[in-house]
Symmetry: D3
């Protein structure tokens, strides 16, 4: 089983971290191939960043489809290009936001999302509606640490932790969903210290992708996600 994990932004060090988190949960018999999408911004912190990153994500999916990849993970919490990617391959394509939030739904009926900058909160809120978890989401909280600082700023983990504590208290919630792929490697420590489940989407999406492959399930080609006909290009 080969899972291709696509980092939509252009920061290679983040791709490496993401790859490690994905491998850690993939289980026996699964290979993880982390790649950096071409042409994306260094970090995705706005609708514009998201839009600009999409062509590179789609190219990576297209390449992977040709190479026989079994499933794809799009490793940015905005799930950029998710539906377009599903048109390019029958292999499952999983966004980390959908996987994180649906995985949380098996563990609790009240979680909080902790994300980077507050300007991305409305998009995350829309995703809770799109993925059917709006009633389960007690709140979406920004720690105001920019994406790249998650790696560079030595206080970043502490600030994320503080925001998680605040979120659990304010929302009276019972679990945390991490709202950025760049937080993936904070996950286990946060969970240990907070005493509640902390769900990282990179890991959740990878495990979900493996599950779908084992189930033999692939994207439906009967309608919305059918391969595009030549005509429309």
């Amino acid at each position: 089983v080969l899972i291709k994990v696509i980092n939509p932004n252009s920061t290679e060090s983040m791709t490496k971290i993401i790859g490690g988190c994905a491998r850690a949960v993939a289980g026996p018999g699964v290979s993880v191939e982390p790649v950096t999408a071409v042409g994306g911004p260094t970090a995705i912190e706005s609708h514009y960043d998201d839009a600009i990153a999409v062509p590179g994500v789609l190219a990576a999916v297209s390449d992977g489809a040709a190479a026989g990849v079994d499933a794809f993970v799009i490793a940015c919490f905005g799930d950029p290009g998710l539906y377009a990617a599903r048109e390019l391959t029958a292999a499952p394509v999983i966004g980390i936001a959908e996987a994180a939030m649906r995985s949380a739904a098996y563990l609790t009926r009240r979680f909080s999302v902790v994300t980077t900058l507050s300007r991305t909160v409305p998009h995350a809120r829309e995703l809770t509606h799109r993925y059917g978890v709006a009633d389960l989401c007690g709140g979406i909280h920004a720690c105001e640490v920019p994406v790249l600082d998650l790696e560079l700023d030595p206080d970043a983990r502490e600030r994320v932790m503080a925001e998680c504590r605040r979120a659990l208290a304010i929302d009276r919630s019972e679990a945390i969903v991490l709202g950025c792929a760049g937080m993936a490697d904070f996950c286990s420590q946060l969970s240990r210290e907070l005493g509640v489940p902390v769900i990282d989407g990179v890991a959740a999406a990878t495990a979900t992708a493996v599950a779908l492959v084992r189930l033999g399930l692939r994207t439906s080609k009967a309608g919305e996600f059918a391969f595009r006909s030549v005509r429309s290009v």
Copy 2:
């Protein structure tokens, strides 16, 4: 990794089929232990049947928790006793309805549910709301084959197939969710003939349970699903 798959009804032959379907998707390094809950009805086709089956399901979970099971699957599409079971163990407990419908959500934005008797349709409809997939569910259709006839009636598979075809056409949907654990072994043949994904909840819940175990995620004990204190018994 040990997954305990609980058949809430008392029909042993169905437990055997369910166990086989679970094993087929569990993947390397996973053991599946199918059990028949004690004291349930021979089939679950009403709210009463569902209610009566619950104590046996909970006893099976309680036993499994003591024995160190890693995750549980409740293998009846009504997900009987799901929330109560989560109070008895920190190991993930997955219902086949929630797993089937959330798995379908990764593959399409329009699926139909095909179930047994029409009297169970309102409960299934409520589950689509509870699990946040009501907008994705194009319709819920009963083939009017009683649960036990799925195994005994030689025409059962054909009648389920016919109802699936009808559902896809009427709902303009792109995938089928099977609405009964007793249909689990029809799944791959249906998918082949219909040309769309067909999701069996037994398999989906097993694969999801494995995924959660690999992720190290367990039911949150911070609120709703905390272990019960002694006082309340």
Copy 3:
């Protein structure tokens, strides 16, 4: 007119209180028969307690149906076994949560629920959705008094009162729904002191049951709640 009021927990003193509250509102020509369900927990404060109480509730309904009872009240705010009970009789079966919340809807468009322990809040929240009053419910608040302490703890009434005041202020709500049958006898005093309607479900369900009997209305047997056929047992 004979109304059977079922206490799902096994605490006889609570059955007595509940019976008194029901009788106080039944009106002329109505008999109230309070009973304690067999085999339930002493108090219902979790999903597990709720599930374990259901078989006793259903047995009480079944007995009452045979004896020609005109309507049933299930006197626990979780409405345990409500839909299953409706399959056992054509006489109306009313849950105290649904009756309390729907009665409140005739008096205000903004009420708060005050309940016992916070772990039961998510279930109450789900009921507001199930009964179509989620938009009317400004909040659900736990006073953290366990069910049995409502009777035993001399400060209980004061703590409930304090939580009601807090709820009205925080939610900017205009009425209180009591979230536990054990609070039934606090109702009139709370209302007097708070100056807003306080709705006790035991009373509300009893009055609703009488109303449905006077209307000649009975549970529909045309689908979901039809009597179960012999086959499925």
Copy 4:
């Protein structure tokens, strides 16, 4: 107990029928006072009719409040003036649409509304949302019999019956809510012939009003429905 039942339209013969239906369900110790609102149209079949009828309804409530009426019923399925009426008195004011639809919710999770003219369907649909029963309402069907013809046309009952049958079949529903006070006296015969509960709002609202009086519950004056201060007139 004195219940004032207000017919918002100016057709006296309809007031008489409504009064009879209300009395039939009021129970012992309850007086019903049917009145015809002053200045309304002969029938209410549009938003304009509804708006024009409201001042007469409010005058009738105001008079009744001064005379010490215990509760009010507004006997038109559009519930004209309901919220305004609640500002004029603390006695409960019940609309027949809300009472019919909430009463149905105790008997089934799938009902159909059968009303007069199709132009009123969108308003009825809005009421299903306002009253929290949209998920329970399988459809709203017009028999295209104008309100006054319900009384005058000898075929009216048959046409309503035919539309009820169609509604039950198309919506796969299990009960009928009558969408016009002018259908009140068809109710029991329809129910007998259709074999499902048929809910007339005039009766349902009267029984609900009696229930609220017996409960000692009155409209909350803590916010939206407070008596108007002198200043604003």
Copy 5:
């Protein structure tokens, strides 16, 4: 192009202010005719006020329809008589609440409403649902300044401003919708000082009315808003 702007309350000075605000945004080639509805209360601060104002609004629409007006604005944030008015003319009829909230939706996904008295908040909340903007509305806040004091009280503007600031902070919202026609002339100053869009419904409805006239679009007469047949009067 002739737009008739109807002030539903009887306060002439407010009509003058409203007319000025409408004219300021009408653009070239558009005439604005402000009128005071006959028989309304001096201010609309309750459901009763709203109901009593409606006949005068409808008479003004009826007159305007006969006189060939191109579009109508109903200049009270409760949108009194909106649907009834649409039955009286094919010319577009626009409420200031719907126009303000839909215009805001082009500028932000998170706005707050600031209105006069808190008793009107539930009606405004219902309108957010009716107009499909409930998810965009972060909160509805009352400054507790009665309608007529907006003009008379020299501190009124400052109190509205303070409430706007509070709303933006509490709701984390990005724009303000003014919840009363009497605030129309505060709009531009508020926007300047707050640094976010402030939307006045009088202006928004006027501009929307002009837009619909330029589009050649008129109220559909194919169903709900068809001209009433003679029979029903």
Copy 6:
């Protein structure tokens, strides 16, 4: 007033048609500048097409912002790049789907959407939720005419007309929203023949853009749509 109307696909002839439709409704004192986005597909009929078109749309907005354009219209029914575009300028950016559907909401409470290919229906359905008109949309219907054939196929207009008739009958709806910019020039003839309002988004968005400019309203920069900081690029 200068409105820039952006055709996201690369078909120049369609840009010309779109420009004409926009000019026809712009009103006095307004200039319309139609442009073809660079790098888009010849037609947009899938998520992939939509995604690939976005960078060109954003470049056109960026250029227009620098040139002092007063408002922008994105002339494709999927509203590609709408939120990202709002980050690039404070001038209003209007999508034709949002403008068409919100304009329809002023004219009816039940419209149907008629679009090109059925694979785009799920995206249009999501937009009805995003824009708050899901309750108003009776159905979304595909005429199965590819976008470019709207111009080339002499039968196209007739096929769209036939689908509109079918939609009105099946959905019992009262107006049509055209689901493709390529249908813009069919609008007035369709409306004349169908006898109901037919709303073309290109015209609706242009008129809405003019309205917002006259209102002096601009995109809020206080949160989600703030200009991006340098850091994130």
